[in-house]
């Protein structure tokens, strides 16, 4: 049974993109698919938000983009993590972990 898919938690899309790209350079559709796969279909990425996020991250110099041939022989815009992007990912991950831990503690707290 598939779990019902939801939109990506607000404010985490950038981090998810960075994380996905930290494994290997990918094009837009590939990133969306990868996020859905790894989250086992929990997160469904809105393509409009995703593509706009690329622009923002690229402007912030966390991503570099280049047009390349895919394995299937089509032209696609590949994104790659920059050094600054990797640093940003580390920061966001640490921050996220801290928040999740805090929220878990709050949720587990007995009255």
């Amino acid at each position: 049974m598939n779990e019902p898919s939801t939109d990506v938690i607000q404010g985490t899309l950038d981090m998810l993109i960075l994380k996905t790209l930290s494994l290997q350079p990918l094009h837009g559709f590939g990133i969306a698919r990868r996020i859905e796969q790894i989250s086992r279909g929990v997160f469904k990425v809105n393509p409009g938000s995703l593509l706009t996020a690329f622009q923002r991250l690229e402007r912030a110099a966390w991503l570099d983009a280049e047009w390349r041939q895919t394995e299937a022989g089509r032209r696609a815009k590949y994104y790659k993590l920059t050094r600054a992007g990797r640093k940003q990912l580390d920061e966001e991950t640490a921050d996220w972990t801290r928040r999740v831990a805090a929220i878990s503690r709050l949720l587990k707290a007995e009255a």
């Binding site: 094009h27 837009g28 559709f29 590939g30 969306a32 698919r33 809105n46 393509p47 409009g48 593509l51 706009t52 690329f54 622009q55 923002r56 690229e58 402007r59 912030a60 110099a61 299937a72 089509r74 032209r75 696609a76 815009k77 600054a84």
Partner: protein, 876 residues
């Protein structure tokens, strides 16, 4: 790094919009292809795969738009689009744009130029430290008229007055620099030691005067201006301690003043020496100095005046100087008020007038924008109906308004620059602080701000209207609505414009008539074909009167030899040239009051040369030389004043000189001459020959009459004089008629400005009337079409529109005349020989404006009368 990327990527997107758009479209398309491929791989048909992919991606256009909307460059792109659209709109209505921009430019430019000139002269503090503490010490006579101060009074006051920190006297000095190859007459001042100290000025090179040197027989030292130092002394920084020859005396240069020093008390002065006055001198109580002082901190000029008046009278009671009237009042008045006294009323009136021009400009722009707004109502209703948001409409109109203001501001800056240059060039000579006139940024910004505000407020009206009202209604009835509330507002504005134009026209008309009256005043002699110049004698070789007399006699003979010279004469003072040499005259048997008279020591042919009419007795002639019984002529006015019922001929009088000198016998009466100014009334005068006067003047004016073209004779005459002695300066070469014109320079200056303002006002008002009427006709096309379809003749329609326009004009004129009657009160002091209610001026102005506005009304009326009813009704 990321900042850099923001900027460069943004700029690239901005400059290569197409390739950026294609990039985005490619990426979106690519995404779609990937999705489709995935669905195909899952076994869907090609069609179903594409549909699924589209579903996944959502609205492709809006994804594209979403991506394109990212980045700071989009704000700029929208702004540029707005600007492009605004520019296109303005270009498509060139008449409207040109009129608005010109109106703004005239309003902003004129205001800026005038305030640039008025501000430093009237409002800025004088360029001295603690300038508010500087005051002139004045002596006022019985009638409140000013009398020059005396060294004696200064000497006593400066020892006693506690209100002043320092005090100084000054008098004009015109030495000739003789050390170089070209003698040059300089403007200078003789001052007491504390002069620069009182002003708070320290020489930039060398030192100030020392009080210990300010004594009779003290060292001859000069302080010079930066300009003179550069011009004559090659800016030599080792000049201090060296000497220069002035009038054959050698003076040690002790100081050079800073380049920014502005000597408001005598703007032309370039060289200063110590007055070295002394109470032992006979001239100590002569009224020939001005006194300036620095008040102690916290002392007002009122308090200082009280102290001065008290001390002054105490001093008079102790020392009994003969030259003082016991009713003299002593007052202190702030230096700035004193310096600007002569020009202040005129400048304030001019500033007021230029504000009126600005008001007209604003009214006109408001009018034009309102008219434009009415015409664009349907356009905006349509755009609102198509979904343009209120902010979008407002932003676009704002851009248009700002673009108009920007153009107006730039053009206005140009006009202001030209205006400031013209003002300085036109300014009457001797105007203080002319050097400080420069484009005033705050005045410019004020003009730009107020016009921008107006264009924004009234420019935005159509957008607000469109956003507020129901677009459908506006679209349907937009053209039907005619002269509504805003029509009334526009009419009111036109009335205001006409009224202001009337005020400015009446004012300049009155000034114009004053100037004409002034030049129609009889001056007492014939100024045409008269050349004048002043000859000076310089150096110790002229110390003896006899040598001077010989030189002047030879020089006059040489001049008379010049071909073309009909007659020539020398005089101690020249009428209407700025000279004003007056002495007390006392008639025999007059125990009491003497008469203040102008003294002319002349060579006998003076009367012939000037064409001065003889009223009775005889002219002076060659026989009235030294040694012969002294004789004098008096002016008609003096004769009437002293001898109202008997003949003055044969009466005896004393003028200046020692009381024991032989009195002059009056042998003739001549006509009155204007000496000080055309509007002045003082003309009591005494004429003697130079040989019979008590002394030979060191500088004398030459008057030459010729029937031919006299101005070309000037160089020949000059060489004739120099053939006698080449070292004597000849200055102030001028045609008598030019001197005459120069006496009215200030009035002419004011008149020129008012004429310019009045011209601007009438042009703007006419444009306003025309704009309102032609806008009204355009809006009422349908109504007029219906009227003529129902049988109104062309004549009826012509009358309809003309009546509307002329009614507005008539109301404006009525209000304007009332306004002018009130406003001209402020220029009464500038009028001469004409009442401020002069009917002639009012009638002419009303007729002129009426005629001009009739023309402005006729054009739209004619157009309305030629509307084809069939055509208009069909297009509706």
């Amino acid at each position: 790094m990321s900042m850099w990327r923001q900027v460069t990527r943004g700029l690239r997107a901005l400059t290569h919009r197409h390739s950026a758009d294609r990039d985005i479209a490619d990426e979106v398309h690519d995404y779609l292809e990937h999705a489709k491929a995935t669905h195909l791989a899952r076994g869907l048909s090609a069609d179903a795969a594409l549909r699924a992919a589209r579903l996944e991606l959502g609205n492709i256009t809006s994804v594209n738009e979403q991506m394109r909307a990212y980045g700071w460059e989009n704000m700029i792109a929208t702004l540029l689009a707005d600007l492009r659209y605004a520019a296109r709109r303005l270009r498509s209505t060139p008449a409207f744009t040109t009129i608005v921009v010109l109106t703004l430019a005239i309003g902003i430019g004129a205001t800026t130029a005038i305030f640039s000139a008025v501000n430093p002269i009237l409002f800025e503090p004088l360029p001295y430290p603690g300038a508010h503490q500087l005051a002139m010490i004045l002596e006022l006579g019985r009638s409140g008229s000013r009398v020059d101060g005396t060294f004696g009074m200064y000497h006593a006051l400066s020892e006693r007055a506690r209100s002043f920190e320092s005090m100084a006297v000054l008098k004009p000095w015109g030495p000739t620099i003789t050390s170089a190859e070209h003698p040059e007459r300089l403007d200078g001042q003789l001052v007491s030691a504390r002069y620069f100290h009182a002003l708070g000025v320290i020489p930039s090179l060398g030192r100030d005067f020392r009080a210990s040197d300010d004594r009779l027989g003290g060292p001859k030292e000069v302080v010079i201006s930066d300009a003179l130092w550069r011009r004559r002394l090659a800016a030599d920084s080792t000049i201090i301690g060296h000497t220069v020859a002035l009038d054959d005396n050698s003076y040690t240069v002790i100081g050079v003043l800073p380049s920014g020093f502005d000597n408001v008390l005598t703007p032309a002065a370039e060289v200063w020496a110590l007055l070295q006055g002394d109470m032992s001198l006979g001239s100590a109580w002569g009224h020939n100095v001005r006194t300036v002082g620095r008040l102690r901190e916290g002392v007002t000029s009122e308090r200082a005046s009280q102290e001065l008046d008290m001390l002054g009278h105490a001093i008079l009671n102790e020392q009994h100087p003969e030259t003082y009237d016991l009713e003299t009042r002593f007052v202190a008045t702030p230096l700035r008020d004193d310096v600007t006294r002569a020009v202040k009323p005129a400048l304030l009136v001019i500033a007021g007038a230029v504000m009126l021009v600005l008001v007209i400009a604003c009214v006109n722009v408001t009018n034009l924008l309102l008219g434009q707004g009415v015409q664009r109502r349907s356009e905006f209703a349509l755009r609102a109906a198509l979904g343009a948001g209120r902010t979008r409409l407002v932003r676009q109109l704002l851009t248009e308004s700002l673009l108009l203001s920007l153009l107006g501001g730039v053009a206005g800056m140009g006009i202001a620059q030209l205006g400031v240059g013209a003002l300085v060039a036109l300014s009457p000579p001797g105007l203080a602080r002319v050097g400080a006139i420069h484009l005033n940024t705050s005045a410019f910004l004020f003009g730009v701000a107020i016009t921008t505000l107006i264009s924004i407020v009234f420019g935005l009206m159509p957008a607000l209207q469109a956003a507020r009202s129901d677009p459908q209604e506006a679209l349907q009835h937009g053209t039907l609505r005619t002269v509504g509330r805003r029509g009334r507002m526009r009419s009111t504005l036109v009335v205001a414009e006409v009224a202001i134009a009337i005020v400015l026209l009446v004012t300049s008309g009155l000034l114009y008539r004053s100037l004409n009256h002034l030049f129609a005043v009889p001056i007492g002699f014939d100024p045409s074909h008269l050349l004048t110049m002043e000859i000076q004698t310089v150096g110790h070789k002229f110390d003896a009167d006899s040598v001077r007399h010989a030189f002047f006699t030879q020089a006059l003979d040489a001049v008379l030899q010049v071909p073309g010279v009909e007659s020539a004469a020398l005089t101690s003072q020249l009428p209407l040239s700025g000279d004003g040499d007056a002495y007390g005259a006392r008639f025999e048997n007059d125990a009491t009051q003497g008469y203040d008279v102008f003294r002319y020591s002349v060579t006998p042919r003076f009367f012939e040369t000037m064409r001065l009419p003889l009223r009775s007795g005889r002219y002076l002639d060659e026989n009235d030389r030294g040694g012969a019984p002294p004789v004098a002529l008096i002016s008609e006015s003096l004769a009437k004043l002293r001898f109202p019922s008997e003949s003055p001929l044969g009466k005896r009088m004393r003028v200046a000189g020692s009381p024991t000198a032989q009195p002059y016998v009056i042998v003739g009466v001549v006509g009155n001459v204007k000496q000080l100014s055309l509007s002045g009334t003082q003309s009591e005068a005494v004429y003697t020959t130079t040989s019979q006067w008590h002394w030979e003047d060191a500088a004398q004016s030459l008057v030459i009459r010729s029937n031919g073209n006299i101005s070309v004779l000037a160089p020949t005459i000059r060489s004739a004089i120099w053939s006698v002695d080449k070292d004597q300066p000849i200055v102030r070469v001028a045609m008598m008629e030019d001197l005459l014109a120069a006496t009215a320079a200030q009035r002419r200056f004011a008149l020129t400005l008012f004429e310019a303002f009045a011209l601007a006002a009438i042009v703007l008002a006419t444009a306003g009337i025309y704009g309102v009427l032609s806008g009204g006709v355009a809006e009422r096309t349908r109504e007029i079409g219906v009227r003529s379809a129902l049988g109104a003749s062309r004549r009826d329609i012509l009358t309809l529109v003309l009546r509307q326009g002329m009614t507005l004009t008539a109301i404006g004129i009525a209000i304007g005349v009332l306004g002018a009657i009130a406003a001209t009160r402020s220029i009464t002091a500038m009028l001469f020989g004409v009442s401020r209610l002069d009917p002639m001026t009012y009638v002419t102005v009303v007729a002129l404006l009426g005629a001009v506005s009739a023309i402005a009304c006729f054009l739209p009326a004619w157009r309305a009368a030629h509307i084809e009813p069939a055509t208009t009704l069909r297009t509706e």
